[in-house]
């Protein structure tokens, strides 16, 4: 408009420009006759415009002709030019109409599907609240911790408690430098400070005991130097550590053959116990340890840190809501494919009869053997000390299923397997299958393991209406012949080739999946943990739960009752494998048949 006015005033320097603005075509003709000079000016101007307005030649030409023939004033021409400019300027704006229409239609249809699915399922989209809050209060009461067994798992547990050897810190720093996605150190350092002091270490191997002491003094830890890093005392015999007045609670991370005796001695000495799995080595030990722990009233936690995995907690909610329909088969697996995964651990250079207290190591083992570095460092390969695949890895899988479905001890088991790949003198199988029957629940639980193949087979709960795969993430997929979802499948609300919904750790809630790309990402869970998702070590949470119960009372999630179920179930499979027969559990007389 500003420009229009300018033109008018320059074209018509006459007396009453305001009046002239309103002049119509006919009158303008008269005017143009009267004022030839100005008209000429106008023609000149249209020519000028023709030159400048190269954008649209054709219409400009037309205008010129019109301008000449009808001798319209430039003012009229300007008006028509503006209108066309506006029309052409906004010509593509209507495209937003169909775009918005299509977009809203798609969104409404997707939202409708999601809403329908969630309404049908009747589950909350919320995440279970296991992740600790960002601002953490340091617990007031100090707990003095002792650890028996500072091998690989012992170190892991102490990391979970908030202590690390300087070598480990260096190694993690290097890993983080080499691979920026490796957040192991960051996860450790941002762990909650549990207000504990590591005051006692007992290990039969000198090198490991020294490592434990070094870890107890290292101030590169969550909470930094709390003034409590005076260093742990080394106890040569575990009994001395258990009887010590400097210790309130004990972590037992020894081979399985020591678990029972140490736990019984510790609770009898008034110490709380965190014990690694498998809880015991035999059925008889299982009864003994359960009785002792129950009578002591001390807080006991068995080392199945999967109890803290939020996908397992969500899986329990899903199972309780009966989203899968009647579950008749649960398949759990272990696949590993490396010497380390098959317990062929490195033999330490300094390991020798001088540095290892062999007698104390053998202790409760049923068969005494001469000093052996293999047996010491790779004890998991012998039934004398460990429980093989059943107590070592089936125990984790079983505990996860027991947590989700509360199965308890099975009616019967048939197990088989063999030493097929690692024929290195071990007596535990490296390929192992166990089939458990739960007739009361109309359900079979299968465990299938190999230590010589790395294929990921997952943990799958198979129901009549849907399947659920549980790992660090969780995916539920409707069954194409489901009765419950039949109608929704027919109406294309549920697509059986896509997950019904997924749940990722660290995610705000569950999410329904509507495209193949979403499915791709859902099965990987990268973005959820990377984008704002806080990583938390489940072992840390499991130890924290134990300490919380020591301070405030209450039951640990993997208490002695869960431990009893775990140990009996695992040993049933071991017996079945060793004796080559079906093993049954008599729940009335509480014994193996």
């Amino acid at each position: 408009m500003k420009q229009k006015k300018k033109k008018k005033s320059s074209n018509r320097p006459g007396k009453k420009p305001a009046k002239k603005k309103k002049v119509t075509g006919k009158i303008s003709k008269k005017l143009s006759n009267k004022k030839k000079i100005t008209d000429k000016k106008n023609i000149k101007l249209t020519n000028k415009e023709k030159l400048t307005d190269k954008i649209d030649k054709k219409p400009a030409k037309k205008e010129k002709i019109i301008g000449r023939e009808s001798k319209k004033t430039s003012k009229i021409e300007k008006v028509s030019l503006e209108r066309r400019d506006i029309l052409k300027g906004i010509a593509t704006i209507p495209v937003f109409g169909p775009f918005l229409y299509a977009f809203l239609k798609k969104k409404l249809s997707d939202d409708f599907k999601k809403k329908e699915i969630l309404a049908e399922l009747g589950i909350s989209r919320k995440a279970p609240t296991v992740l600790p809050k960002t601002i953490l209060k340091k617990p007031k009461e100090l707990i003095r911790l002792g650890i028996i067994g500072f091998g690989g798992r012992g170190e892991d547990l102490v990391h979970g408690a908030g202590f690390a050897h300087p070598d480990w810190i260096e190694r993690k720093k290097k890993q983080a430098k080499d691979n920026k996605l490796n957040k192991g150190l960051e996860t450790f350092l941002t762990q909650e400070d549990l207000n504990i002091a590591l005051t006692g270490v007992c290990d039969v191997f000198d090198v490991r005991a020294e490592r434990g002491i070094a870890a107890s003094k290292n101030d590169t830890r969550p909470g930094g130097d709390s003034g409590l890093l005076k260093g742990a005392r080394r106890y040569i015999h575990y009994q001395d550590l258990i009887q010590s007045n400097d210790i309130d609670a004990v972590i037992i991370a020894t081979p399985d053959h020591w678990h029972t005796q140490m736990t019984i001695d510790a609770v009898n000495a008034g110490k709380h116990v965190y014990c690694e799995k498998c809880m015991t080595r035999t059925i008889a030990e299982t009864f003994k340890i359960t009785e002792a722990v129950k009578n002591s009233g001390k807080v006991f936690q068995l080392g199945h840190q999967g109890r803290q995995q939020d996908s397992y907690i969500k899986a329990k909610q899903i199972a309780e809501k009966n989203i899968l329909g009647k579950i008749t088969l649960v398949e759990t697996t272990t696949n590993r494919n490396s010497p380390n995964g098959a317990w062929v651990y490195e033999i330490h250079d300094e390991g020798s009869p001088e540095t290892i207290d062999w007698e104390q190591f053998q202790g409760a083992a049923p068969n005494k053997a001469p000093f052996s570095l293999e047996r010491f460092f790779r004890w998991r390969c012998w039934f004398d000390y460990g429980t093989g695949l059943s107590g070592d890895l089936l125990s984790h899988e079983y505990d996860a299923v027991n947590q989700i479905l509360e199965l308890g001890i099975p009616k019967s088991v048939v197990a088989s397997g063999g030493i097929y790949f690692f024929q290195d003198g071990r007596d535990v199988p490296d390929v192992f299958q166990a089939v458990y029957e739960y007739p009361d629940r109309d359900l079979t639980l299968i465990y299938s393991a190999t230590l010589a193949n790395g294929r990921n087979r997952g943990k799958i709960f198979m129901g009549h209406d849907a399947s659920m795969e549980v790992g660090s993430s969780l995916t539920v997929t409707a069954d194409w012949e489901s009765t419950r979802y039949k109608e929704k499948i027919m109406n294309n609300i549920i697509n059986t080739s896509l997950p019904l919904f997924t749940y990722q750790p660290g995610l705000k809630g569950i999410d329904t999946v509507t495209s193949a790309t979403e499915r791709y990402f859902a099965t990987r869970g990268l973005m959820y943990t990377l984008k704002g998702g806080r990583r938390v070590n489940t072992t840390h949470l499991h130890i924290k739960e134990w300490l919380d119960c020591i301070r405030n009372g209450g039951q640990t999630s993997c208490n002695i009752d869960r431990g009893f179920e775990e140990a009996i179930t695992c040993h049933m499979a071991t017996i079945s494998y060793l004796e080559g027969r079906k093993v049954e559990w008599d729940p009335v007389n509480k014994k193996i048949v």
């Binding site: 190269k54 954008i55 030649k57 400019d85 300027g89 593509t92 791709y520």
Partner: protein
């Protein structure tokens, strides 16, 4: 100064093109279709609270893989990249459809597509786990769309059919 720069960017080349009706129509239709694609890609990402470029970046092959990993490892950097990508796509899409600052929009779109192309190049020996619906050898959809945008940049239409006509034409008259 800013006005001048904008003016130059939006109207360059300064000699305005002279198209036949068919040429003009095809160019405008191409511009709208690409704009539509960009706009929807952007909106989909904005509406999905769980969307992140992390998955794409982790697939990066070739010389940029180190850079991509660094971005993913740093949640702030990843947040910025996600934001720029989502809203960049939307703004470019709006610009192309409406013909508003068309030249800036097409050049930005070329830059964005170039990044997509070089971060996940369909070169021999590189395999990706993100599912794709077609088969590509060196030439993929990003490269083709990039070239189409290049054509739109040298044959501009925003000042003929588009808001640029209203924004910049006035200045020509003055």
């Amino acid at each position: 100064m800013l006005k001048k720069t904008l003016f130059y960017l939006a109207l360059c080349p300064t000699r305005l093109p002279n198209y036949t009706a068919t040429q003009l129509t095809s160019l405008v239709v191409l511009r709208i279709l690409i704009g539509w694609h960009f706009l929807y890609e952007g909106i989909v990402k904005v509406l999905n609270p769980y969307w992140s470029s992390a998955g794409f970046l982790l697939e990066t092959k070739g010389i940029f893989s180190g850079l991509a990993t660094s971005i993913v490892a740093n949640s702030t950097a990843l947040g910025i990249i996600d934001f720029l990508n989502m809203w960049g796509l939307i703004v470019i899409g709006l610009g192309l459809i409406a013909g508003c600052l068309t030249r800036i929009a097409s050049i930005s779109a070329i830059a964005l597509l170039f990044l997509y192309y070089v971060f996940n190049p369909p070169f021999i020996g590189y395999t990706y786990s993100i599912p794709v619906e077609g088969s590509y050898l060196i030439v993929n959809k990003n490269l083709i769309e990039m070239c189409a945008l290049f054509v739109l940049t040298i044959f501009p239409t925003g000042t003929i059919i588009g808001l640029d006509r209203l924004i910049f034409l006035k200045k020509k008259h003055e």
